[in-house]
């Protein structure tokens, strides 16, 4: 059973696990998917890429931002059967740029980074997208604590 105590204007409630097992009766307003103010994910409602998405880990705003945007846009709009297979050139150019800034875009996998990016290009955005993303764009120091970067 929960216990309630009041100290002036402050109310203190202690609850056990059982107390909270009964589902909540609190109402939350349903989310509006078309809300223009809400932070959007990677793909905007109109189908375009949200370059400012924290999920991109700052790839679009760094020194190789232009190359990344070219490659990723090509991939996004690619209609090939193997998505992005017509974008190898752009990915190649991007990879070259990434290699010029090893401090900013650390290559997790030193030996076969160019290989893997070539291979994985059709399937998904190349690996540098993920790894440095969490590292470099975590403008908050404790990403475990939810922050605007991760929404």
């Amino acid at each position: 059973m929960s216990s309630v105590r009041e100290e002036g204007k402050d109310k203190i409630i202690f609850v056990t696990k059982e107390d909270h097992e009964i589902p909540s009766s609190a109402d939350l307003i349903e989310e509006d998917p078309d809300d223009p103010y809400e932070e959007k994910g990677l793909i905007l409602p109109n189908g375009e890429i949200n370059w400012n998405c924290p999920c991109l880990g700052g790839m679009a705003s760094g020194p190789c931002g232009t190359e990344f945007k070219d490659a990723f846009s090509c991939f996004h709009y690619s209609k090939e059967e193997v998505k992005g297979s017509d974008c190898l050139e752009q990915f190649g150019v991007m990879q070259e740029c990434l290699q010029k800034y090893p401090e900013i875009y650390p290559q997790e996998d030193d030996s076969s980074s160019s290989q893997t990016s070539q291979d994985s290009a059709p399937a998904e955005p190349p690996s540098p997208n993920r790894a440095p993303g969490n590292e470099q764009d975590s403008e908050t120091t404790t990403p475990n604590k939810e922050s605007s970067e991760e929404s």
Binding site: M1, S2, S3, E7, G8, K9, D10, K11, I12, I13, F14, V15, T16, K17, E18, D19, H20, P23, S24, S25, A26, D27, L28, I29, P36, Y37, E38, E39, W51, N52, G58, S61, G62, P63, G65, T66, K69, K100, Y101, P102, E103, I104, P106, Q107, E135, Q136, D137, S138, E139, T140, T141, T142, P143, N144, K145, E146, S147, S148, E149, S151
Partner: protein, 634 residues
């Protein structure tokens, strides 16, 4: 002329005398022809001082000689001066060339790592071959160029005043949304943009003795990183900004914007350089508030006082903490309490006395409801801090190399060094010249919900007093707000027109037992409802925090403090829960609507908290709302 007359008259009798002698001599000698001519002029001179043809000639010669002499002197002097001035001009131009060469040679180290960046030996950017994942640390570009910046861009599409968190977030946002954007950041600090929270938390817990140089810390996930957002290679040289094909972010350090011309869309720096812009962001943050009492106490006291905010303050406080016996922190808010805990932990090794004094009854007295503030204060005491609450400083004096703090209630505290953490004064220096409104309630530049002050001018971060659609006008001094508002300003500078909507959060860690996240308006003067989990054995603070990986703690330290007096059995009803606020959620209400939430030792639930605030609904039973947080789970 007159002089000549008198002289001649004086000599006249002598001359007459000598002339008669001469004549006599001549008669005696008998050699008239020889002697006579010599005497004759003498005789003549005695009777007629001036005049006579020969005299005129002599006079003319004398004057002529004097004239020629003075002319020669004049010419020589002028020539000498000319030579000197030419030499001086040469000196100046060579100095100019040297310094521009210096600027030119040094920055290549910043931009693409070219091998010929060798001359810039003083730059601390590592050679490109050192492709280690660790980011560049010191981040000092060519900060020491004192020559007029005739190589700097005279125009930049995006000008960001201030080089902190908000500015960096805006730069990112602009670059992401405007392809090839050219962004110029102007900061009066010598450092590249860095994050502030570790300066009062993680950096103090580093085991690395060179941490004041490297400025690296361990994150929650064990990975190390620098406090600088990006290494120097991320940025481009201000001089290269104009010509950069794909644009970039350039940082101009150690330069202050002193004047803003809003109609002309340009700013003036402290070295008289003018830079015009298309869009401008003011993200000037603030400076730590001082206490009048301290200011009045004289230089000896101020020498022993730290106003903590920047990297240099961290470095100097670290040094001080190793050399003194006692440090007193004035201020019981976030910064003061975090520093007290950080120094308190150090004190166990070094024997340093750490005192914290503040006017409130307990730590975080303005944020946490009284019961929780008291609980927190006890925890801070356990970190080795001597707490003096309800303390108002009356005067401070320096006696025998020690500081004496006299409190209004008569207590006296003797210490070696003071750290003042009594708030932030937002920097609104440009308000006057730019004609920008300053908010009288919260301070800072007044901006609308889209963070805009005037056409083409936005403000973000600590200095922005903005309109929050949900919570009303406010000014927020937290790191995440700087990120959120910076991003939003950047979006709006590139045409988005979005209001402040995504609520920022903040967090604090005060030792191993107290860690919380918060969102919205968290003011202890508001009525609150706190829902806490009845403690079980599993809910030891150590377990909770380790699982979530928050904060900073070493194994050995948590062993002692973790075994707090908690009940053992899980569903035991009549559990003694007196004063044990292990984990829970606290709602802050304004007119029955939740405007703020603190997640107390409960993590990864921020999205739910954000949603509740966004909805802005009146909830009859907050316990029901608390259920949404599932506080009993980890």
């Amino acid at each position: 002329m007159l002089k000549c007359n008198t002289v001649c008259k004086r000599f006249a009798p002598l001359v007459r005398a000598s002339s008669t002698v001469c004549r006599q001599n001549v008669r005696r000698a008998g050699l008239n022809n020889v002697r006579t001519p010599t005497c004759v002029p003498v005789a003549r001179m005695s009777t007629e001082p001036l005049g006579g043809g020969g005299d005129n000639l002599k006079y003319a010669l004398l004057v002529g000689a004097a004239f020629v002499g003075s002319l020669t002197y004049a010419v020589v002097t002028l020539k000498g001066d000319h030579q000197r001035s030419v030499k001086r001009m040469e000196d100046i131009s060579t100095r100019l060339q040297k310094s521009t060469l210096h600027i030119q040679s040094a920055p290549p180290a910043l931009s693409k790592p070219k091998p010929e960046a060798a001359p810039s030996a003083e730059q601390s950017s590592p050679p490109p071959e050192a492709a280690a994942p660790d980011a560049e640390t010191t981040g000092k570009p060519s900060a020491d160029s004192t020559s007029p910046s005739h190589k700097l861009p005279s125009h930049t599409p995006y000008l960001l005043i201030g080089g902190g968190t908000a500015s960096f977030a805006a730069a990112r946002s602009i670059r992401a949304r405007d392809p090839g954007a050219k962004v110029l950041i102007v900061t009066d600090e010598p450092d590249l943009p860095y994050m502030r929270p570790p300066l009062s938390k993680e950096l103090w817990f580093s085991d690395d003795p060179s941490v004041t140089e490297t400025l690296r810390f361990k994150q929650w996930n064990g990975k190390e990183r620098s406090i600088y957002f990006q290494p120097p290679s991320f940025y481009i040289n201000p001089e290269d900004l104009d010509s950069a094909e794909n644009g970039g972010v350039a940082v101009l350090t150690s330069k202050k914007v002193v004047h803003m011309d809003v109609r002309g869309n340009k700013v003036k720096l402290d070295d008289d350089t003018e830079i015009s812009y298309d869009k401008c962001l003011i993200a000037t943050g603030g400076i730590p508030r001082s206490l009048q009492v301290l200011e009045r106490s004289g230089e000896e006291v101020m020498k022993r006082t730290t106003l903590f905010r920047k990297i240099e303050d961290f470095k100097s406080l670290d040094k001080v903490s190793r050399s003194v016996n006692s440090i007193t922190i004035i201020g019981g808010g976030f910064l003061g309490s975090e520093l007290a805990c950080a120094l308190g932990r150090k004190s166990t090794e070094s024997g340093l006395e750490v005192v914290q004094m503040f006017p409130e009854k307990g730590n975080m007295g303005k944020v946490l409801p009284e019961y929780l503030s008291n609980w927190t204060t006890e925890k801070v005491k356990k970190e080795g801090v001597k707490i003096i609450s309800e303390a108002l400083v009356k005067s401070v004096a320096c006696k025998d190399d020690k500081l004496e703090i006299q409190l209004k209630d008569g207590r006296l505290v003797r210490t070696d060094h003071i750290v003042a953490a009594v708030g932030l004064e937002p920097n609104v220096d440009l308000a006057k010249s730019a004609g920008l409104e300053v908010d009288s309630d919260f301070g800072g530049y007044r901006v609308n919900a889209e963070l805009q002050a005037r056409s083409n001018i936005w403000v973000a971060g600590d200095a922005a007093c903005f309109y929050d659609i949900r919570l009303g006008r406010r000014r927020v001094e937290h790191h995440d707000h700087a990120v959120v508002s910076g991003r939003l300003a950047g979006e709006n500078m590139t045409g988005a027109s979005k209001p402040y909507w995504h609520q920022s959060m903040f967090w604090s860690d005060l030792g191993p037992d107290v860690g919380y996240e918060a969102i919205g308006i968290v003011d202890s003067s508001l009525p609150t409802v706190g829902v806490f989990a009845k403690a079980t054995a599993k809910d030891t603070p150590k377990a909770a925090t380790e699982k979530s990986g928050t904060g900073i703690r070493s194994e050995s330290e948590t062993e002692d403090t973790a075994t707090s007096p908690v009940a053992s059995a899980t569903p035991a009803p009549a559990v003694e829960h007196k004063d044990d606020y292990g984990k829970g959620v606290i709602f802050y209400l304004r007119d029955k609507v939740v405007v703020g939430i603190i997640l107390w030792n409960v993590f990864n639930r921020m999205p739910i908290a954000r949603k509740i605030i966004k909805d802005g609904e009146e909830h009859a039973d907050l316990n029901e709302v608390a259920k949404l947080f599932n506080i009993h789970e980890d």
